[in-house]
């Protein structure tokens, strides 16, 4: 088909795509390059290449404390959003109950809702019930916001699941509990691992919800945020580079899992469904 489409048109399209990719990646490349720059975060051309900022970073106790906090938060948020998101996906797939359409919209809403609303409304809830802000409140916030991701991912996996297998298991005398653990969950394995990976990465990077639910202990993005307001050094480029490399690894792994689970990693469809669900 591309043979009959005009030569100039596809050439124009290629240039456009190249420009968009440059726009998406140049800032990230710049960030990485300047993490090795001896003379600060600006200044062209980069000069005095050095590893000093990384040395400074590895000796920076406050950063690593916040990294540890972020990992605890991400793991706990992952457990919550999977524990609620997997049954939520099952309920959307096979449950019949009044208000199902509303339930579906509510579960998926945080995916499209600006983080400030999720963060603020939870802040008001915690204040109403007298819960002090701490890592726990951030965990509850991330867990709640990311149920949407777990639900969307697992629901997509369920669409590929052969229901006959579950039926066979029930016919052969296994109860629902056994069928759930031995048939349903193993079949959804790849979707669940993929969702877990994505939730972990998103929680690690999350800042808008955490901004409102932070207690005395900082997560990594909030630690960086605090420093940004005081002035910037390439040490922030160095930690950003590490965050980027970690995210890159996690996302590519998630993508591979997604392709393995479903043949195609078309995440746009569910995102679109989240935006406008028909219920």
């Amino acid at each position: 088909m591309s043979a009959d489409s005009g030569w100039t048109r596809s050439r124009w399209l290629s240039w456009h795509s190249l420009a968009v990719f440059a726009f998406l990646y140049l800032p990230i490349v710049t960030l990485i390059v300047y993490s090795f720059n001896g003379t600060g975060v600006g200044g062209f051309p980069p000069r005095d290449l050095t590893l000093n900022w990384y040395r400074q970073l590895f000796a920076d106790g406050a950063i690593w404390t916040s990294v540890a906090n972020s990992i605890v938060v991400a793991l706990a948020a992952m457990v919550i959003s999977l524990a609620i998101g997997i049954p939520a996906a099952l309920a959307l797939d096979r449950g019949h109950f009044p208000g199902k359409a509303l339930f579906r919209r509510l579960v998926l809403l945080p995916l499209i809702l600006p983080g400030i609303i999720t963060g603020l409304s939870l802040l008001m809830l915690f204040r109403q019930v007298g819960l002090r802000l701490s890592l726990l409140t951030i965990i509850l916030g991330h867990g709640t916001a990311l149920i949407s991701v777990a639900t969307a991912e697992v629901f997509a996996g369920l669409q590929k699941l052969e229901r006959a297998q579950e039926e066979a298991s029930l016919d052969l005398g296994a109860n629902y509990w056994q069928t759930f653990w031995r048939v349903t969950i193993p079949n959804l394995r790849l979707s669940i691992i993929g969702a877990a990976l994505l939730i972990f990465t998103l929680s690690l990077d999350e800042i808008a919800v955490s901004f409102f639910l932070i207690g005395r202990d900082n997560t990594l993005p909030l630690e960086i945020w605090g420093r940004l307001r005081r002035g910037i050094t390439p040490e922030i480029n160095a930690i950003s580079t590490i965050i980027f490399l970690f995210s890159l690894f996690a996302i590519v792994a998630w993508y591979r899992l997604r392709v393995a689970a479903q043949g195609k990693a078309e995440i746009g469809t569910e995102l679109a469904e989240a935006a406008a669900t028909t219920g």
Binding site: M1, R9, S10, L13, S14, S17, V20, F21, F23, L24, P27, I28, T30, L31, G42, G43, F44, I84, P87, L90, R94, G95, F97, F103, L106, V107, L109, I112, L113, P114, I116, I117, L120, S121, L122, M124, L125, Q128, T144, I147, E166, Y176, T201, L202, D205, F211, P221, I224, W225, I243, L248, I251, V252, G268, T269, L271, A272, A275, A276, T277
Partner: protein, 282 residues
């Protein structure tokens, strides 16, 4: 095939969680918006419409809301202009490299918001990468101070962040277009441009609507990019909410703005759903 107890077991825990952590908090925002703050900074739990009156009476709230919508509209249009041709190119002309290119778009989608916003700050600053580059090649002798701390910086950064969001649903809708329709149009002698306008574009409208909704709604509620890159002229509505919940300490007024934003977002989602259904071809 599924028993009632099984259905209850998969339905009740998520239903309960969603009620406690989403529905109840939204209700609290709603109630708070009718309360007020006493001079001694205590929350007064008696009902009043004063907060909503204040939003209409004091010009700065509506002005900032309109500025935020204007910024969000620009981000939306730019994201579509960048995202649509890219999605079209990938879907119809990328050949074997489709998979790789697709991954290259979704990587920035999930990579830290903060890292990317920070990158733009280091590029746009008066002694940032771009200004020193311009001076290095003698395009200018003085740094361009208007780049950072301006609505321009906010629009640029948010466009960078939300272009992949706009791209995804468009790409998905293009991928779902049956290729025989396109071939039929070509076989019947339509020039490529006509095939695009009459066949491909109309069939991809649901994706465009979804992508536009993402870009508009998410940038409308953003408060971190304006704080980091916006300066005084780039303040958005969420920044006012943040200050009302912080230093300005007026939670009820902040709640009133938040509730209006929630209504606006839900209204836009509803509208986009109607539009998508109207244009859906299945």
């Amino acid at each position: 095939m599924f028993s009632r107890s099984y259905r209850a077991a998969i339905t009740l825990p998520p239903l309960l969680w969603v009620t406690v952590f989403l529905l109840v908090p939204y209700a609290i925002v709603f109630f708070y918006s009718f309360w007020s703050v006493s001079p001694g900074q205590a929350i007064v739990h008696s009902w009043t419409l004063n907060n909503y009156c204040e939003l209409l009476r004091v010009g700065v709230y509506l002005q900032t809301l309109f500025r935020s919508m204007w910024i969000a509209a620009r981000v939306m249009i730019l994201s579509l202009l960048l995202g649509y041709p890219l999605a079209y190119h990938l879907s119809f002309h990328a050949g074997k490299r489709k998979e790789l290119f697709y991954q290259l778009v979704i990587i920035p989608l999930w990579v830290s918001y903060l890292v990317r916003a920070y990158a733009w700050k280091t590029i746009l600053g008066s002694d940032g990468v771009l200004n020193t580059l311009l001076q290095y090649v003698h395009l200018t002798s003085h740094p361009w101070n208007f780049l950072l701390y301006s609505p321009f910086a906010v629009v640029l950064t948010l466009t960078h962040i939300y272009t992949p969001f706009a791209f995804l649903p468009i790409y998905a809708s293009l991928e779902h277009i049956p290729r025989d329709l396109v071939e039929a149009s070509n076989d019947l002698g339509a020039p490529p441009l006509q095939t695009f306008w009459r066949v491909i574009l109309p069939l991809s409208i649901p994706g465009v609507v979804a992508g536009a909704t993402f870009a508009f709604v998410l940038s409308l509620g953003d408060f971190l990019a304006p704080l980091l890159l916006g300066g005084p002229s780039g303040i958005m509505i969420s920044n006012i909410v943040v200050s009302l919940f912080g230093a300005a300490y007026n939670w009820p007024l902040g709640a009133a703005i938040s509730f209006c934003m929630l209504l606006l977002v839900v209204g836009l989602l509803f509208l986009s759903e109607r539009l998508e259904r109207k244009w859906a071809f299945r």
